[in-house]
Amino acid sequence: MNESSNGKGFSVSLFVNNKPGVLVRIAQTFARRGYNIDSLVVSNAHDARFSRITVVFQGDHENVDQILRQLNKLIDVVHAIQHGSETSVDREMALFKVEVQPEKRGEVFQVIDVFRAKTVDITDESIIIETTGSSSKIDALERMLSSVGLLEMVRSGKLMMARGLEPT
């Protein structure tokens, strides 16, 4: 399950050297302690010598500080910061493929409309819907579409940026 749906997830953003092997070291830091990663987003930073990583994971509250310390200890990690929803903006993107016959489309379009999602592909049997928003909004859309023939879902994982002048 997604972090925001049960409230136990933690979000960490990392600023790291952009070179081979860095992601493995970070993944090992989680795996060694038995933490499962729910979502992981990696991309170049504005300065291409660095990458930005957002990790969402489940874990015990008291061990999160320890994970942060272990991540910060990695030579290739410039910083690892935990962000909450008050101090950061977060977004996720998702694509949903729904199996729907032309005569039933109206029902699906209503859902799309309420969620301000977009239709990006349409065939006689299916629709692909695109949406962007908080993880909880995407969870809610998933629940709605499940009852009208949801075939597949692909989510980007959570993107995060610290508010104000705080570094992400």
Binding site: V16, N17, P20, G21, V24, R25, Q28, R32, R49, F50, D65, Q66, R69, Q70, N72, K73, L74, I75, D76, V77, V78, H79
Partner: protein, 569 residues
């Protein structure tokens, strides 16, 4: 210069005098470049694991990084145990591994192993160098990372085509380590908070670990202890950070520490960790460890704070610099009743062992300590003999105690003594090993013999894997399983085959005579095979996972069954 010459130049610039190596196809260009650098002496080891432990022993004894050069594939994977050993105990090492040419990477080429991947969890940092012009910077970074902050092993994987290519870069490139800034001095507010907590303590305890040895903080630890009038206990690896013959010393604490050290731990009202990490050998059951005592934690690695114990105040910094700043902030404590209590414990619960019934390892080690005036560099293997050596051989100075603490690596003793003797040619080096561990790296006798190193190799031979046998006796109804070292060779004859002098020790009455003869023999290494009683156990003992207060001080009546430990090992 080509890549190999750059590597050799980097070694020269970092003052490397010994390189522990084993050649093979992928690292031949580097060995070739070494021909032109006679000031870097190649120590040809007999197995790469031995090579890494030699570099480790060299580093622990000298404080300088140990350097290893091996080939790709199995040559490189054989270093894994040595890397783990160094990583667990924060030992500075640079391990250079040959690698197949870059076009072959990931294609299962001959002697290819993903060494960068295999070793990732057991290094401080690592590099796979794909571009020759990165070499000068990478080599500089490797030495910097290995030796600074909390030291550790750094691995550099070197594809053969990269080290053969011409390099245009020189050594002027800056580090690219934006995520690395180890702390040096402690923050003033943390120091002041610590000083305030200390000032109200009546039963303080300084708990000193390897971090103090690495930082060479011995003078400051002594200064603090004497100023406060606080007792000092050291961990296995902290031996030497505070003289064990000092009146304020209570010796080693933990699983096989002295009873009086552990009683001090149980009763103290303040415990200050100086470069120690609350290891499970120390704390036993964490939830009961010093439950009511104030805890202060000084460590150069902030990731240690809260890992096991949540301290009341933590000070991130180098042990020496932190203590330098802390000492002026504290004053003498009202600790006389506490020190008197500790004196009583020392008298009531001294380290002891049975004197009859055959040759006792403890007696041999105690006599070795006396004859060497506690001044030798001592390396150990892992097991019963290691604990007895820690108990009966006092360490009074930094860098004189070499033992695999965190990893508990059998086979460490002999090669680490070789590294230490090469690094410290004027010191007396004694390797205390068990018959089990010794056989894991025994081929390094050749390395010791070739270099005519006057190491005293004291084999405590009880023809058992004694520590495991002890556990089987105490916790598994004495059901022996896989511990009888039947088939041990005659170790004196093994020595002879390598041209190494041997001494046999069988009777208690001969201990002084035999040890003296061995200590007087300096024409190369010698073996002293001490054939000790088979069934001795190490006490005191805190069963793994039990509370420190549940320490077993001496041998329980025979037949008394103890509860199986709940701790890991």
């Amino acid at each position: 210069m080509n890549g190999s010459q750059i590597i050799v130049e980097a070694l020269r610039r970092h003052g490397v005098d010994y390189l522990f190596g084993y050649p093979g196809g992928a690292c031949m260009p580097i060995f070739d470049a070494l021909v032109d650098a006679p000031e870097i002496k190649i120590v040809l080891v007999r197995h790469e694991q031995g090579g890494t432990h030699m570099a480790d022993g060299y580093a622990r004894a000298t404080g300088k990084p140990g350097v290893v050069l091996v080939t790709s594939g199995p040559g490189a994977t054989n270093t894994v145990t040595g890397l783990l050993t160094a990583q667990m105990d924060s030992v500075p090492m640079v391990v250079l591994t040959g690698q197949t040419i870059t076009p072959n990477l990931g294609k299962d080429a001959f002697q290819e192993a993903d060494v960068f991947g295999v070793t990732m969890p057991v290094v401080k940092h690592s590099y796979l160098v794909r571009e020759v012009n990165d070499l000068p910077r990478v080599m500089n970074e490797a030495f910097h990372l290995a030796t600074s902050g909390r030291p550790g092993p750094v691995l550099v994987d070197l594809p053969k085509d990269v080290v053969s290519a011409e390099c245009e870069a020189d050594f002027t490139d800056e580090f690219h380590l934006p995520g690395y800034a180890p702390p040096a001095r402690g923050l003033t507010e943390d120091l002041e908070k610590a000083a305030e907590l200390i000032s109200s303590s009546k039963k303080p305890l300084l708990y000193v670990g390897a971090g103090a040895v690495i930082a060479q903080a011995s003078k400051q630890v002594i200064g603090l202890a004497e100023k406060l009038q606080a007792p000092v206990t050291t961990t296995l690896l902290g031996k030497g950070a505070f003289p064990e013959t000092h009146t304020l010393s209570v010796g080693m604490l933990g699983m096989h520490g002295t009873a009086y050290a552990n009683k001090t731990v149980v009763d103290c009202d303040l415990i200050m960790a100086i470069g120690a990490r609350w290891d499970d050998r120390i704390t036993g059951k964490v939830s009961e460890f010093c439950r009511d005592a104030t805890k202060i934690h000084i460590d150069v690695d902030p990731a240690e704070f809260g890992k096991i114990i949540d301290p009341d105040v933590s000070i991130a910094g180098d042990a020496k610099l932190v203590l330098e700043d802390l000492i002026p902030l504290v004053s003498k404590l009202d600790s006389q009743p506490w020190l008197k209590q500790i004196e009583k414990w020392k008298k009531k619960y001294p380290l002891k062992f049975p004197k009859r019934g055959g040759l006792r390892a403890q007696q041999v080690l105690k006599e070795m300590d006396r004859l060497t005036d506690s001044k030798a560099i001592i390396s150990t293997d892992v097991g019963q003999h290691q604990m007895w050596t820690a108990q009966f051989c006092k360490t009074n100075e930094e860098r004189k105690w070499l033992s695999s603490g965190g990893a508990g690596t059998m086979g460490y003793g002999l090669p680490s003594a070789i590294g230490a003797q090469l690094g410290c040619p004027d010191e007396l080096v004694v390797a205390v090993v068990g018959d089990g561990g010794f056989q894991m790296t025994m081929p390094e006798l050749a390395t010791a013999a070739i270099h005519k190193l006057p190491i005293k190799i004291l084999i405590i031979n009880n023809r058992y894997l004694g520590m495991v046998r002890q556990w089987q006796e105490l916790f598994f109804d004495n059901r022996e399983s896989g511990v009888d070292m039947m088939g041990n060779p005659d170790f004196v004859k093994i020595g002879e085959a390598y041209g190494i002098k041997g001494f046999r020790l069988r009777r208690t009455g001969d201990i002084t005579k035999v040890l003296k003869r061995a200590l007087d023999y300096n024409d190369g290494p010698c073996i002293i095979e001490a054939e000790v009683v088979k069934g001795d156990n190490v006490f005191p003992m805190i069963p793994a996972g039990a509370a420190v207060a549940d320490m077993i001080i001496e041998e329980p009546p025979s037949g008394k069954k103890l509860e199986k430990p709940v701790g890991s090992t």
